[in-house]
Symmetry: C2
Subunit: 672 residues, 2 copies
C-alpha cells in the first residue's frame, strides 16, 4: 500500500488538532496506567499468537468461524500468559483481543460458574477441574422451545425415583424441549438442566441437574436424548446453539446440584442456604454482558464512524469551496458525537454497577439482603437500557458511514449482527424494564407513606413541584443542572405512574390489571430512572477524577453533551409540567449544538483513547491510519467471487443468450 | 405434522374473533377485487413453477442464492404468463411472489430504463431488445469509491476525441473507480457509465455513456478494464455489486446516450430536450423502491410478529390464571399495533405519491415544470421517511418475537438485512430530508412575503398561533383533529427554522453556513411535514373509501392509532408552544392506549388482509396456521450442522481431552 495516500495525510493532520492527552484519557478509562499496560500486554500476546490471534473475519464461512473459535478457546487455555488472567481487566482484555470470537462461551461462562456457585463442595471438586480442562464440555439448559422469560412456564421435569436413587429427566411435550442453549448442539456432552423437581408427586420448582447427554466414547447422543443445532441465526456462527429433548432419561441422585438444596436418599428436600443467593449468578451475567456485548461494540462502532467521517469528503458547505469532511456537517456530528459521549457514560456506569454488585454480594453472603431489590432492579434495568442504547447507537454509526457501512469490510456486520441478540437474551428487555419499574413503584409507595427512600431512587424524597427551573442557556449545559433536570423528571414520572395505578385500582381493577394497563408508562419511567443513574454516575466520576484540568474539561463536555442530547430527545417530559418553558427548550437545543462543535475538534482523540488495535477493529474504513480506499479495494480483491474472472455458474446459465447478443451486435456493426 | 397442535387450534379460535370482512380490506388495499384476483393468479403461477417458485431461503449459501436468483429472472422472462406483466399490480405481484429475490435487478431496473429514457430513438432500437432478451447484461455505474451522494464530486471523465470520433473513458484515481453498481461484478458485459463530459478541455458535467466492459466471446474483462465483486455485505448475496476501473478506455461517439444531449462529429454539444426531464427516472426509482424495499418488508414483519404474538403464551396477567397470549400485554400491543397502522398508512401514501408522479410527469412532458420542486421534495422526503420508518418497524417486530426472532427460521434475517441498505442507497436519508427541507424553506419564505403556498405545504398559509387546542380526549383521537395537530406542528416548525436561518444570516453567517447550523432542525421539520402528508393521505383515503361501515371504522381506528402514536412520541413539539396542555398530553396517551385495545381484537385480520402466502413469508413463526413449534423443529433438523451426529471438525480438536475426561470419570465411578 502506498504510505502517503491523501487519506493517510489527512488523518495525520486531524490527529494534530486533538486538544488533550489521549494517553491520559486511555489510562483513566482503563482504571490507571498499570491497567492500560496490562491490557496492552495481553492484547499483544494474544494477537501475535498464530492461533489465538487469527481473528481475520472476512469471507469466512460460518463453519470456519465456529472451528476457529473452538481452536482459539483451547489455545487461550494452553497459552503461557505468565499473567493472572482472572482479573476483570485481564478477562476484558482477552475478550477484546479476540474480537468477541471465543468458542465454547457457555461452557466457560455459564456451565462452569453454575457448577461452582450451585454445586456442593464435592460436586465442585468433581466437575470443575474436568470443565476447566475441556475434558467435559457443558452447557446451561434452561430456555425451552415454548418458554423463555417466564420461568414458571418451563415444562421439563426431574422426578425423584427413590427405588433406584435416581432422577428421571423428561420433556413431556414438543414445547418442553430445551432450545437455544449455547455450545449444546454439537459440542456439549454434559448439561446443567433446569427442571421442575418432583418428589412424591409434589412440585418443588426449578432446580439444576447435571445431565450427561452424549456418550463419552463416541460423542454420540445417549439413548433417550435428541440433540442438535437449532439452525442459522443472524450471527453467532461460532456457537452451536442447540435443542435437547430428554425422554425419561435417568441420572444419579448426586447429580442434582446441591449447594443450595438437596434431596436425600429418603426423598426429603433440604434447603441448605438462602435461595436468594441464587440471584447472584444471574445478576453477574447481566453485569458482565453489558460490557462485552453492548459497550464494547458501541465503542468499536464509534471509532469506525468517527475515523471514516473525518476521512470522507463530501460536498462543500460553501459553494465553490473545497470539499469538507463529513464530520463538519452538523447533522453528522449530531449522529456520532452523542454516541461517543454515551460510550464513555455507559463504560463508567458499568464499572460502578460492578463495584456495587461486589459490595452487595458481600452483604448478602453475610445474610444481609436489604439491598437485593435495589441491586436486582439496577442490574435488570441497566441490562435493558445499555443493550438498547448501544444497539441503536451502532446502527446510527453504520448509517453514518453511508453505503460503505453496508459492506462486511466496514466491520459493522460483525459488530451489529451479534449485538442484535443482546436485547433479548438474559432477560427480554421489556421484561427487564418492568422488573426495574416494580422496584421503583414500591419506592414511590414508600415515599407516599412518608418513608425516606434510600439508594438510586432517592429523588423520590423530593417534592414534585411544577416549579420552573430558572436556568439560562449556559447553566442548562452544566452537568449538575442537567442532573437536577433528570432527577425532577424521573421523580415526576414515577409518581405519576404510581398514582395512575392507584387510580385504576380505585376504579375496581386488580393490581395485575392496573399494572398491565400502565406498562407503557412503567417502561418509560424506568428509562427515566436509569437516565438519572447514568448522569449521576458520570458527574460523580468527573468529580472524583484525578486528571489534568484539560482532560477534566473534555469529560465535562461529554457529560454535558450526553445529558443535553437525551433531554432534547425527550423534551416533552420537561415541558409537560412547566419545569422548563419554550425558551429554555430552545436554549437546550442550542446548548447541544454548541456542545457538538466543541466536541467535534476532539472527536478523533476521544475514539483513539479507546485504544483498539486494527486487528480488534477488523474494519477497512475505521483503521488507525485512515487509509480507507486502498484497504477497501484490497479487501474486495479477496472476495471468493473474484477467484475467476468468469463466474462459471452465472456464465453457464447465460452463455447461450450472450452469444446471441454477440452475433446481433456484430451483425449491426457489419451493416454500418 | 400433526394437524391439531394446540397452536393451530388457538389460531383458528383467534381468527373467529375478527370483526370485519378480511377480503373486503384485502381488495381495498389491492385497489379492487379484480386487482386482488390478478395478484393471486400471478402469485400462484410463479410460486407453482419449479424454477421461479423455488424461493426456499433457509440454509442457502450466498452463491446458491445468487445463482437461483439469476435462474429465476431468466425463467420469469420465459414463462408463459398469459397476463400483461407491465402494470404496477402485476410487477408488484411478481416481485412479492419471488420474495424479493430476482436476479439481475439493476440490469432490468436501472440499465434498461436508463437506455429507454435517455437514449435517442436509434439507441433505444439498438440496445433495448438486446437487454430485454438478456442478450447483453448491463449495469448502471454512477457511484464511485470516493463519492456517492455528491454527484459533483464524481471523478470519472469522458473526453471527446475528434480525430477518432470516440470518447475516452478514464478513472484517474483509485477513488474514481465505480463502486457499488449492482450486477456489475461478474454479470454485466455493458454499463451505462456516468462520467464528466469533456470536450476541448471544457467540462460539461455528468452524462451517460454505454460502455462495453467484457469480451463478447469469452466474457473476460476488456483490456483497460478492471472489474470484480466488491465483497460481502450484510445481505444482497443475490447481487454481485461490483467495482469498475476504466483506464483510458475508448468507446464510439454514438455510445453517448443522446436523448437529452449529444455531441456531434465536430464536437459541438447540443441540448435536445429539457434536462430537468432527467429527474424523472431518479424520482421514479425512489417512488417504486419504498413499495418493494420498505413497505413490503414491514408488512411481512407485522404479519410474522402479530401471528407469533397471538400464538405465543407467556405468563399470566392475573396470578394463578392460565397463561395469556403475549399480544394481551399492553406493552407488546404498543410495539406491534402502531406498526400495522403504519404499514397501512405508508401503503396508501406510496400509492398517492405514484399517482402524483404520473400526473406531474405528464405536465413536465408538456413543458410545464411548475410542480417539479414539489414532486422532487416529496419523493426525496418520502424515500427517507418511509425507509427509515419501515426499517425501525421491522426491528421492533423482530424484537417482539423474543429469541426466536433471531433465528433465520423466523424470516427476519431475510427481511431485515436487505432493508438495512434502504436508508442509504438511492440517496442517503439525511441528504434526502435536507432536499425536502430546502423546498419547505422556500415555501416558508414565500409565505412570509405574503404569497399563497400551494400543494402539500399549504398549512404554511395559516397563522401560527400559540392558541391552545380545546379538544377533549375523544376529540383528540379523531383523525381530522389529529391532522390539525400535525398541520399546526409542521407550520410552527418550518417557520421556526426559517426564522432561525434568517437570524443567523442577520448575524453575518452566509446562507450555506446558516443552513449547516440549522440542519438538525431542518431534518426534524421535514419529518413533521411528511407526517402531515401521511395523515392527510390516510384521512383522504378513508373519506373516499367505498367500503362497508365496519371496514371504514377499522381503517378509521388505524388512522387514529397511527396519528396518536406519532404525536405521543413527539409530544414536546405540541407542548412547547402551548398548543396542548399537560392534561391534553395525558389524554392523548390515554387515547392511544384505548385505541390499542380496540385494534387488538382485529390484529390478526389486519395482517391476514395483506394476504401473503406462506411461501412469500418464508417464516416458521409467522405461517398462516400458527403451527410455530413444529415448523421450528423441522427447520432445525435441516441444519447442515446436523448432517452428522458427531461434528467432525469439532471432535477432531477435542477428542483427546474428551477421552481424558472419560477416563477420569470412569476412575471416579470405580472408586465409589
Amino acid at each position: 500500500m502506498a504510505s502517503l495516500s491523501p487519506q493517510i495525510l489527512q488523518m495525520k493532520e486531524e490527529r494534530k488538532k486533538i486538544s488533550f492527552d489521549v494517553e491520559e484519557i486511555t489510562n483513566f478509562v482503563d482504571g490507571g496506567p498499570e491497567e492500560s499496560r496490562l491490557r496492552r500486554e495481553i492484547t499483544a500476546k494474544i494477537q501475535n499468537d498464530p492461533i489465538a490471534g487469527d481473528v481475520d473475519w472476512f469471507y469466512k464461512s460460518g463453519e470456519e468461524k465456529f472451528i476457529n473459535a473452538v481452536k482459539r478457546s483451547v489455545r487461550l487455555k494452553n497459552m503461557d500468559m505468565d499473567i493472572d488472567m482472572n482479573s476483570d481487566t485481564a478477562m476484558n482484555a482477552a475478550f477484546t483481543a479476540c474480537a468477541n470470537s471465543i468458542g465454547l462461551p457457555i461452557h466457560s461462562g455459564a456451565f462452569l460458574p453454575t457448577v461452582m456457585n450451585l454445586g456442593s463442595p464435592e460436586q465442585v471438586e468433581k466437575w470443575v477441574p474436568l470443565a476447566l480442562n475441556f475434558e467435559i464440555i457443558g452447557t446451561y439448559a434452561q430456555t425451552e422451545l415454548g418458554h423463555g422469560t417466564n420461568l414458571r412456564g418451563l415444562e421439563t421435569t426431574a422426578t425423584f425415583l427413590p427405588d433406584s436413587q435416581e432422577f428421571e429427566i423428561d420433556c413431556p411435550k414438543l414445547t418442553s424441549m430445551k432450545w437455544w442453549p449455547g455450545d449444546l448442539g454439537k459440542c456439549a456432552n454434559h448439561a446443567v438442566v433446569m427442571a421442575n423437581l418432583i418428589i412424591n408427586k409434589q412440585e418443588y420448582g426449578m432446580h439444576p441437574f447435571i445431565v450427561q447427554i452424549r456418550d463419552l466414547d463416541t460423542h454420540q447422543p445417549l439413548p433417550g436424548v435428541r440433540v442438535g443445532d437449532i439452525g442459522r441465526k443472524f450471527a453467532f456462527e461460532v456457537n452451536d446453539n442447540g435443542f435437547l429433548h430428554m425422554d425419561h432419561l435417568r441420572i444419579p441422585r448426586e447429580n442434582m446440584l446441591a449447594g443450595v438444596a438437596e434431596v436425600d436418599s429418603e426423598g426429603n428436600y433440604n434447603l441448605k442456604s438462602d435461595p436468594r443467593l441464587l440471584y447472584g449468578g444471574m445478576m453477574l451475567i447481566r453485569v458482565r454482558l453489558v460490557d462485552t456485548q453492548a459497550i464494547f461494540p458501541l465503542q468499536l462502532a464509534c471509532t469506525i464512524a468517527t475515523r471514516y467521517s473525518l476521512m470522507r469528503k463530501q460536498g462543500s458547505i460553501e459553494p465553490d469551496e473545497p470539499e469538507v469532511s463529513v464530520l463538519d456537517y452538523v447533522a453528522q456530528q449530531r449522529k456520532i458525537l452523542p454516541l461517543i459521549a454515551q460510550a464513555y457514560a455507559f463504560h463508567f456506569c458499568a464499572r460502578r454497577t460492578r463495584l456495587f454488585y461486589v459490595d452487595m454480594m458481600t452483604e448478602m453472603r453475610q445474610g444481609d439482603f436489604t439491598n437485593l431489590p435495589e441491586l436486582h432492579a439496577l442490574t435488570a434495568g441497566m441490562k435493558a437500557y445499555i443493550t438498547e442504547g448501544c444497539l441503536e447507537g451502532t446502527d446510527i454509526c453504520r448509517r453514518a458511514c453511508g453505503g460503505h457501512g453496508y459492506l462486511e469490510a466496514s466491520g459493522f456486520p460483525r459488530i451489529y449482527l451479534a449485538q442484535l441478540a443482546s436485547v433479548t437474551y438474559e432477560g427480554e428487555n421489556t421484561v427487564m424494564y418492568l422488573q426495574c419499574a416494580r422496584h421503583l413503584i414500591k419506592c414511590a409507595s414508600a415515599a407516599s407513606s412518608g418513608k425516606t427512600v434510600k439508594g438510586f431512587a432517592d429523588y423520590l424524597n423530593d417534592d414534585v413541584k411544577a416549579k420552573r427551573s430558572e436556568k439560562s442557556q449556559d447553566e442548562l449545559a452544566h452537568p449538575v443542572v442537567l442532573r437536577e433536570c433528570f432527577r425532577h423528571r424521573a421523580n415526576r414520572m414515577v409518581k405519576y405512574v404510581h398514582e395512575k395505578i392507584q387510580n385504576l385500582k380505585a376504579t375496581g381493577k386488580s393490581h395485575a390489571e392496573a399494572w398491565n394497563l400502565a406498562s407503557v408508562e412503567l417502561v418509560e419511567m424506568a428509562k427515566a430512572h436509569l437516565d438519572v443513574y447514568v448522569i449521576s454516575t458520570f458527574t460523580k466520576v468527573i468529580d472524583e477524577a484525578k486528571v489534568s484540568s484539560r482532560s477534566r474539561q473534555v469529560l465535562f463536555n461529554l457529560c454535558s453533551l450526553w445529558g443535553l442530547h437525551i433531554l432534547n430527545r425527550n423534551i416533552g417530559s420537561l415541558l409537560v409540567d412547566g419545569y422548563i418553558n419554550a425558551q429554555q427548550a430552545e436554549d437546550m437545543m442550542e446548548a447541544e449544538l454548541s456542545c457538538l462543535s466543541t466536541v467535534r475538534q476532539d472527536a478523533l482523540g476521544l475514539v483513539d483513547a479507546f485504544d483498539f488495535t486494527d486487528k480488534t477493529l477488523q474494519s477497512c474504513i475505521g483503521a488507525y491510519d485512515g487509509n480507507v480506499y486502498e484497504r477497501l479495494y484490497e479487501n474486495a480483491k479477496r472476495s471468493p467471487r473474484n477467484a475467476n474472472e468468469v463466474h462459471e455458474g452465472f456464465y453457464e446459465i447465460m452463455k447461450d443468450s450472450l452469444r446471441r447478443g454477440r452475433d446481433a451486435l456484430r451483425g449491426m456493426k457489419s451493416k454500418l
